[in-house]
Amino acid sequence: MAHGPATLADGWRAYISRWVFTTNHKDIGTLYLWFSFSMFLLGGAFAMVIRAELFQPGMQLIRPEFFNQMTTMHGLVMVFGAIMPAFVGLANWMIPLMIGAPDMALPRMNNLSFWILPFAFAILTSTLFMEGGGPNFGWTFYAPLSTTYAPESVNFFIFAIHIMGASSIMGSINIIATVMNMRAPGMTYMKMPLFVWTWVITAFLLVAVMPVLAGAVTMMLMDINFGTSFFDAAGGGDPVLFQHVFWFFGHPEVYIIILPAFGVVSQIIPTFSRKPLFGYSSMVYATAAIAFLSFIVWAHHMFTVGMPIAGELYFMYATMLIAVPTGVKVFNWITTMYKGSLTFETPMLFSIAFVILFTFGGFTGLMLSIAAADMQYHDTYFVVAHFHYVMVAGAVFSGTAAIYYWLPKWCGKMYNETMGQVQFWVAFIGFNIAFMPQHFLGLAGMPRRYADYGLQFADWNMVSSIGAFIYGGAQLMLLYNVIMTIRNGKPTTEEKTWEGAEGLEWTVPSPAPYHTFATPPELK
């Protein structure tokens, strides 16, 4: 380990084996980030197909069967292939640096967690070329659509989910072990940066619910191939059981996606406000409270399924409770900025946009939580708009902020600030043009997951598609910015890239050496 990492100059063989056999948390973090970005582009391409078809009413480009595969694969690839691995990549890069650890606790298992993903997504994507087509039942794969009426490729989907789950569980166990066991002396739990806190809570959620997802797809597999009747009322089962099992996984899953995003924003806002984070401990408790509540609200996704009224009421009130800890967080971010010495570099712009748009998505979530009103909103574009405000303007904006924020630390080059800000505005405007009209479409009654629509929805759909293309273009600009930074960026060797940045990751040189904190730093 005395020698540095292999570069292209050492020959392609050494270079490839560096990445394939690596046990280094920074290498693995980089792998995760590039993989997730390529999946982001793939899922984005599926979204472009969807929006192109919906540009005008009537069927123009693709058949409805293929449209269904596109909506399904877009959701699956974005959730499991793009957003989750992106934050795991950030965790890999930053957690050891933030807590002063030499590496992740279990480095070889770390590499395994990553390398499962290309196999899983190769299997998942290959279903599109199979007879009968790929999964076409929506990313939530409700039975019996995903069992009795599914194409044969559903079996490949099931096993792809299984190994993805194994990857997530191993990755999470690694993060928990790292945080519990590898903190530098003096780094008590309540001194940990908030990104570390949100990730350890996320990892706990993952270990808790990924096995439940494995259970759900196992039940599907058995029903499809081995004659069991979990989801078939004829044998004494119930398709609604699928929804309960799925959403017991699915609701914590949406917090798995958003909690690390909270963590990123909680790092960036104090830096560019040049003030410590307001209400650190309340942030920690709020995160834990959100994680706890995520386990007891799942059936708010199922208000129209025919639950008893007592169930509807319970899940409605429990869901509304989530607004309390989330409100604490939004309050703290805003109060951190209050009377701060603010500057608006690209990461800060994305973070402020995150706070505004995520709060907006949170409010539409509150609207959806009202069981009686949800009867109207359910399965309309209002829901699509809601979760894209929290998933895209929430998770993806914060991920983008993280890239701009830590890129100088990762590669020792400074991105072009003008280019970054241009990309932000294109993304921000494109995003809102794409998704704001979908609220109106949903309230007017346009159902989600349909390849065609009535003429009254034509105008806003066209606007939405134009916005989606602009937003898609913004992602290519991000890719361009990152590549240009790595190749031609202005070198920076400052330990502290940002004036107001605090934390151990800003005490190591830029770019961060291949091995850091071989001897743990002392904290005062």
Binding site: T23, A105, P118, N174, V212, F230, G235, D238
Partner: protein, 313 residues
């Protein structure tokens, strides 16, 4: 190379990528297998996995013997194992939760007597209509010997219930009731593992190896009896995986438990072989302890199963 006092970060390793390849082949192969394209790919993946797992653990054991693993690394292994067991708990929770939902809620909806609340047992209109329109003649009962399909469609039904259930057979037949013996065996094996552990802690290797060997034996006996029970169910009780929701939940819950007992027995067996080779000491015993934690976990799952699946039927 790291010194003993610092955390051991291993060099580059080929193990993970080979494992990932094995997993990928197994996943793709299993799916091809169930859609009828043979099991060659799956078998190839399985062989790769078996070999690489053996190699991986050999390397970890070797690193430990050479003293590369300091206390902090060992603590990482401990945390890894405990959280892995927690994930297994959640896997079983999904199936226990499904059983509860099917038994308590779905069954009464299908039978048309799902009530409004705890203090009011008037069936809801929806439940009554559900029964009358979709599954006329089905009466909610557990264990369900007749499926809703059978009740409504008679001989044309796709799903038919079992001839007999695995219920408690009555006090007079208690001693010939297999699940009771299985419970006795598994609880005993947890105790014997604990005695072996105590032996190791007190540097009594004879006690350690002897009682560990007995635990492995009990695990194997449990599995043999479980196979016996399955054969009996299929051949004499008309109880199969396809016997409606009862067969579904019975075989899935006990089957996954059996799979975990198999894994646990293999873990204990490996610990036994290592013990005979002279591994483990009263200070360095993680490999054995991890196997024993896992064993206690499958034991607890069985006790839950025993009550939920067999006794309170």
């Amino acid at each position: 190379m790291s010194t003993e006092s610092s955390y051991y970060v291993p060099e580059q390793s080929k193990l993970p990528i080979i494992t990932a390849t094995g997993m990928g082949l197994m996943a793709y192969g299993a799916a091809s297998w169930v859609v009828g394209n043979g099991n060659i790919v799956f078998t190839a993946g399985l062989v790769i996995m078996a070999l690489v797992m053996f190699k991986w653990w050999s390397i970890v054991i070797d690193e430990n013997m050479r003293g590369l693993a300091n206390d902090q690394l060992k603590q990482s292994y401990v945390l890894g194992m405990l959280w892995f067991i927690f994930s297994e708990v959640m896997f079983f929770a999904a199936f226990f939760g499904a059983l509860f939902y099917l038994r308590v809620i779905v069954n009464s909806w299908l039978g048309g007597d799902a009530a409004i609340g705890i203090f009011d047992d008037t069936p809801t209109d929806a439940a009554v209509a559900n029964n009358a329109l979709l599954w006329p003649g089905y009466e909610a009962d557990w264990p369900p010997m007749v499926t809703p399909d059978q009740a409504a469609n008679g001989a044309n039904a796709t799903f038919t219930g079992p001839d007999e259930a695995m219920s408690f057979p009555g006090w007079s037949k208690l001693l010939s009731w297999l699940p009771l013996w299985n419970t006795v065996i598994l609880v005993t094996s947890s105790i014997t593992v604990h005695i072996a552990h105590t032996g190791l802690k007190n540097n009594n290797r004879k006690q350690f190896i002897g009682w560990l060997g007995l635990s492995v034996l009990l695990g194997i006996i449990f599995l043999v009896l479980q196979v016996e029970e399955y054969v009996h169910a299929y051949q004499h009780m008309g109880l199969t995986l396809e016997s409606g929701i009862y067969g579904t939940t019975f075989f899935m819950l006990t089957g996954f438990h059996g799979a975990h007992v198999t894994l646990g027995t293999i873990m204990l067996l490996i610990a036994l072989i290592r013990a005979i080779k002279g591994h483990f000491s009263n200070e360095d015993q993680f490999g054995f302890e991890a196997a024993s934690w896992y064993w206690h976990f499958v034991d607890v799952v069985w006790i839950l199963l025993f009550f939920v699946v067999y006794v309170f039927d």
